[in-house]
Amino acid sequence: MVEVPEYVKIVEEIFDRYKGKEFLYIGRHIQRWDAVEKIKGKALFTADFLKYYRNFVWVHSVRTRYAHARIKGIDYSEALKYPGVLRVITAKDIPGVNDVGYVIPDQPLLVESKARFIGDILALIVAEDPYVAREAEELIRVNYEKLPVITDPLQVIDLRTLEEKEHPLIHEERGSDIITHFKIRKGDVEKAVKDADVVVEGEYETPFQEHAYLEPEATIATPEPDGGVTLISSTQCPFDVRKIVAKVLGVTQNKVRVIVPAVGGGFGGKEDVADELGAKAALAAVLTGRPAVAIHTREESMIGHSKRHPMKAWYRHAATRDGKLLAVEANIVLDTGAYASLGPFVAWRATVHSTGPYRTESARVDTKAVYTNNVYAGAFRGFGGPQTAFAVERQMDLLAEELGMDPVDLRLKNILREGDRTVHGQLLTAEHGVGLEEALRKAVEAAKWYEKRKAYSSQTGVLRKGIGVALMYHGNSIGVEGADYSSATLIVNRDGSITFRTGLMDMGQGALWGLVLIAAEILGVPPQYFKVEYPDTASTPDAGPTVASRSTVMGGAATVNAAYKLRQRLNYVASKILGCPESEIEIKAPDVYCRSDPSKKTKWMEVVEQSFWLGIPLQEFGYFRAPPAEWNEETGQGAPYVTYTFGAIIAEVTVDTETGGVKVDRIITSYDIGKVINRVGAELHSEGGAIQGLGYALMEEIVHDSEGRVKNPNLSTYYVPTIYDAPDEIVSLWVEAGYRRGPFGAKGLGEPSINAIAPAIVNAVSHATGVRYNSIPLTPEKVFLGLKKAGKIRL
């Protein structure tokens, strides 16, 4: 048995101690620290800093004209002569390593010999202003040898056999365009299918989804005298930016400083592309000796950064007559586009969650991610979860239909409960917190599910209502993807104010505020005493990336550690002042008193001042590392994640059968997140995830033409939900089946908030229309053609 580290014991102790207690700050509606600055328009996002800069240069990316082509030569001599152009940078000018690949080193920063998608960068023009740079681009002559373009992943791989097909290789250096193969093998699937009373199968398709964060990517780089750079960067992962920029420049990491100011949305998209921008700006800064600015236009952003992986999948479910799930089979193909980005990790997470939050006797799943000449796909809120949840939850509805069962009843029969084993053989115990059944029952009750399901089942007329359900579970943090650690620093200043620092960042949903509330609760100091510092690699140790819904769980656990130790020391000093035992000290800043005798009291300021004179340090660094995850590559058995967030979604829609238009009337979300820490943030995640999921279900899709060009690279052609599309009502319900190794029992919510939205909506549309839909986005055209094909409308 492995010794449980102290930092885990502390988190467990805090969980046990506070169980069932009334909280001062945790779980309450408390305004985030920067709300006033943001509504006043004063918050500074990366590009805003330019108003303080002088003498800076612009970095413009020259991108390939063809999605798949050999680069025989680049002649930029004319461009260099254009007035205002300072420098043209190509691959050979890179002092360090020309690679920005995330998991696999397959992605050059600047293409040297071969372009693989329409966003590939051939050269950087460094100029006095962006107008000059764009004009000079027209003077660059590139000698291309065009290659056949592959935009359909099924040209690379066969969905039924999952064998690689004969095709012109995109990554010939790798010898294959299949990048990963993940498997689940459990029980005897063939026998289960043969013995089953009911078998349903289907093919499912999900699209490229664009993050469309409102702030396009931006970085400002300032050269430093030691050959390094300081960056202001719109990134989720300052330490990844530092690593890549150091590698590209060929300097040590301590010479690259990355500061992350206010960030205008991320959703997973500002992971690896920020490394690319950091490297571009850093190169220009170092090579010109002037501050350099790289800002993407919306079009560049849309063709130049990772997307959600499109999925094509074949699924087969087998069950007994009374609805017990016997087998799940799946072939899953993910299109990772031209580069792997986080594709291998996405494919793994998709595989882990590929059978949904259900018990099954047997399973066989194979997931492969393949290269194409499309825009590369990587991290996006949900990270493989929304794709497989769509397929699984549609399958569950088909199964219910075949069995003549209510979709909720079928799910209740099979969902994971405490004491069950997941498809990977992981035993779910009370310590994990398994609140799926409660979440589903709450949603069903709030929705008046049974009543409405019945009422909507016998409609005629043009407008038809439907109600649909979908469930999800989502492994917390990063599992076997890497070392899963986090950290946070608390500093009590001489005036009693507190500085909070972590290498995690806030991409808009207020994750860091949850960490402050945790510290405030443990220290007994109101959140208003805290200043949240912007992440800065020069002032905080690596806290891991801000991804995978890990800020509250992992960063929160690190914060628990820092606050716990600091509180012990404060108790010691207060006990010296007040003369009662340390365990009796109550801190409710600005007051500090003895619990048994409140007349013995002093002030927070006094405790801080005395600590200084007694030589008691009031800074503390908290570290946390998740217990290692287990995964058998051949069988998919083990314990892939430390715990899971569970959720149930019910969506109500109105379908116009004459136009195919779908209006989402109401979405009920019901999540078990262990413990609600930052209630405002949790509600905003529930609502924001629901609206982004609505977009995924009904309207969002990046479309490539046969030449690999993006046909809709801006916001007038790529549709994201507006206030007109938002549901009339979003209801957020919470279940708190505490996770003992999370801060106060908390689990993650960022990613889970989108996973089951699309299947709930599509299940509702299928309910309203009686047509089986298996592809998203479910556009009016698809709804209408489905109705027509099923003979449900006469024209």
Binding site: E37, D48, V263, L684, A690
Partner: protein, 180 residues
């Protein structure tokens, strides 16, 4: 108007324009191709208005120009000569918070905040027209602004709350009190 070939733009004299921004008069020298957004942000230092798309599709750069909401990324600075412009910075005097902003705080609408300066301008223009907007009018007024974090439901509530505050005569709130 005289047509100037591009290669001569940089030799072409800057044009001096007059702007009244947030109640203050400015004289600014601009290039003929400069956008109002860039002039506000980088010449006047008003970085409230944000660039989200550069094509008038997202609303992040919205300002009120002579009483109308416009995407400042699509307005050439020279075309704004002589205009009266309101940006988020001018919504409330220093130390004060406007009813619209108070309502956005009260509904806990703030997420990344990038879209707010634009939304606030759209709401201001709406409430200047009517203090009893219907749901449909609110949606219409805010339909040109995108919030990717998804605070739409809160914006609906905030507009009505702001209208209520203004009707009650509470146009400005003390910032110090709000922060407490």
């Amino acid at each position: 108007m005289e047509i100037v070939p591009r290669e001569e733009w940089d030799n072409y004299p800057d044009i001096e324009i007059k702007l009244n921004v947030n109640g203050k008069d400015y004289k600014v020298k601009v290039k003929p191709y400069e956008r109002l957004l860039d002039v506000l942000r980088y010449k006047l230092g008003l970085t409230g208005p944000k660039e989200g798309c550069g094509r008038g599709e997202c609303g992040a750069c919205s300002v009120i120009m002579d009483g109308k909401v416009v995407p400042s990324c699509l307005v050439l600075a020279v075309r704004a000569d002589g205009s009266k412009i309101l940006t988020v910075e001018g919504l409330a005097p220093e130390g004060k918070i406007h009813a619209i902003q108070k309502a956005l705080l009260d509904t806990f609408a703030v997420q990344c905040g990038y879209c707010f300066p634009g939304f606030e301008m759209a709401i201001k223009a709406l409430l200047d027209r009517t203090l009893d907007p219907t749901d449909e009018e609110i949606k219409e007024a805010l339909s040109g602004n995108i919030c990717r974090c998804g605070s739409y439901k809160r914006f609906m509530k905030a507009v009505k709350l702001a209208a209520k505050y203004i009707k009650e005569g509470k146009v400005y709130f003390d910032e110090e009190e709000v922060r407490r």
